[in-house]
Symmetry: C2
Subunit: 185 residues, 2 copies
DNA sequence: TCCTATGTTGGACAGGTGTCCAGTCAGGTG
DNA sequence: CACCTGACTGGACACCTGTCCAACATAGGA
């Protein structure tokens, strides 16, 4: 499986698959999306799609991962940690709000046991930790980062399950951040 | 679909299905589990299984829900809210630790869009909220309950994804609870 | 005793997943 | 120019899910 070191032609194929995945996701949502549809949309055979993405979950997870890393974290230099962390959660929830299907797709895709999904899961988790740590700045402690990341994942989960909308998520997390950091600093 | 008001015979069938589900879950895990295997194990036809459980996810979610409500929350009357909340998280993580397959099953089952799953999701979410609220006692505020439930779901999620073990979960949540309640009360 | 409601069955169905592999096709190399 | 390597194809495969429905069995009422 040539998942490393893609040549130009392969990279183009992957690109087309990702774009087709995005389009298909927006049209039919993550559950109804099928790998074969995406392949057809990308003008590629299903076998080829499975050459680059080991599973539907892998494809969905990759779409989320791309969206995440393409959005660089806000470089807020406000004096208050609360403000900086809120800027971060806002940026992340806005991302989900703008791409609700991608977020929803990631939601169940990331639970898969496929090794490729596992890899992405770790990357995404690490990215969250790094961003919260950076936002906390000198206020950062392992405990605070941990709580923030856990609460944030929990919030994403609830949004993914449809208990709250991604729009409400932003406001709700403002309160959460205040509650966690409020008395503490 | 007679999902309400089961007569004795039906209740017995459901019971056998749930027990078979539990056994199968312990043997092969949530992903490899198939409805037809469970039906066979229960000595029942697949069609019958689908009469009572609208999907594999529904079955898994029901197993978790039963485990949850069968375990009554600890009636700790310690003076400190932190201690009481910790007693609660301990009880919950112990439950998951004793039934890791059930917890893992619930983990992806509860993300499903099946209406029956949705119903259970709300019930389970409500149960968490009620228990945290009770554990907080007079210290309870909507914000605190919210943060605790979010962090707790996030933690369950991470455990379900295999980032941490259910055993570590207990210790980790002790720290989380302290961080959230620590300065605040 | 017969009859009828109702729980259960078996098997077919459409559609999905992920795998496999012999075969095609184009571009760079000798 | 002929060749070969490597990306891509297409179609079959095993197995899953969830649905449907005519047929069957087995209670309890007439």
């Amino acid at each position: 499986m040539p998942r490393r070191e893609l040549n130009e032609r392969q990279a183009a194929t992957v690109q087309r698959l990702l774009e087709a995945g995005l389009a298909q996701l927006a049209e039919v949502g993550p559950e109804a999306l099928t790998v074969r549809q995406v392949a057809e949309r990308a003008g590629v055979s299903p076998a080829t799609a499975y050459t680059y993405f080991s599973s539907k979950n892998h494809l969905l997870a990759e779409l989320f991962h791309r969206a995440l890393v393409e959005q660089s974290p806000p470089a807020s230099d406000d004096a208050s940690a609360t403000v900086r962390v809120r800027a971060l959660t806002r940026a992340l929830t806005d991302l989900c709000e703008r791409n609700p299907h991608v977020a929803a797709g990631a939601n169940f895709a990331l639970l898969g046991s496929d090794p490729d999904v596992q890899r992405l899961r770790l990357r995404i988790g690490g990215e969250f930790v790094a961003r919260f740590d950076a936002a906390l700045g000198e206020s950062s402690t392992p405990e605070l980062v941990d709580v923030l990341v856990l609460a944030f994942s929990g919030a994403l989960l609830q949004a993914g399950m449809g208990l709250i909308t991604y729009a409400e998520l932003g406001d709700r997390l403002d309160t959460v951040v205040a509650t966690i950091l409020g008395a503490d600093r």
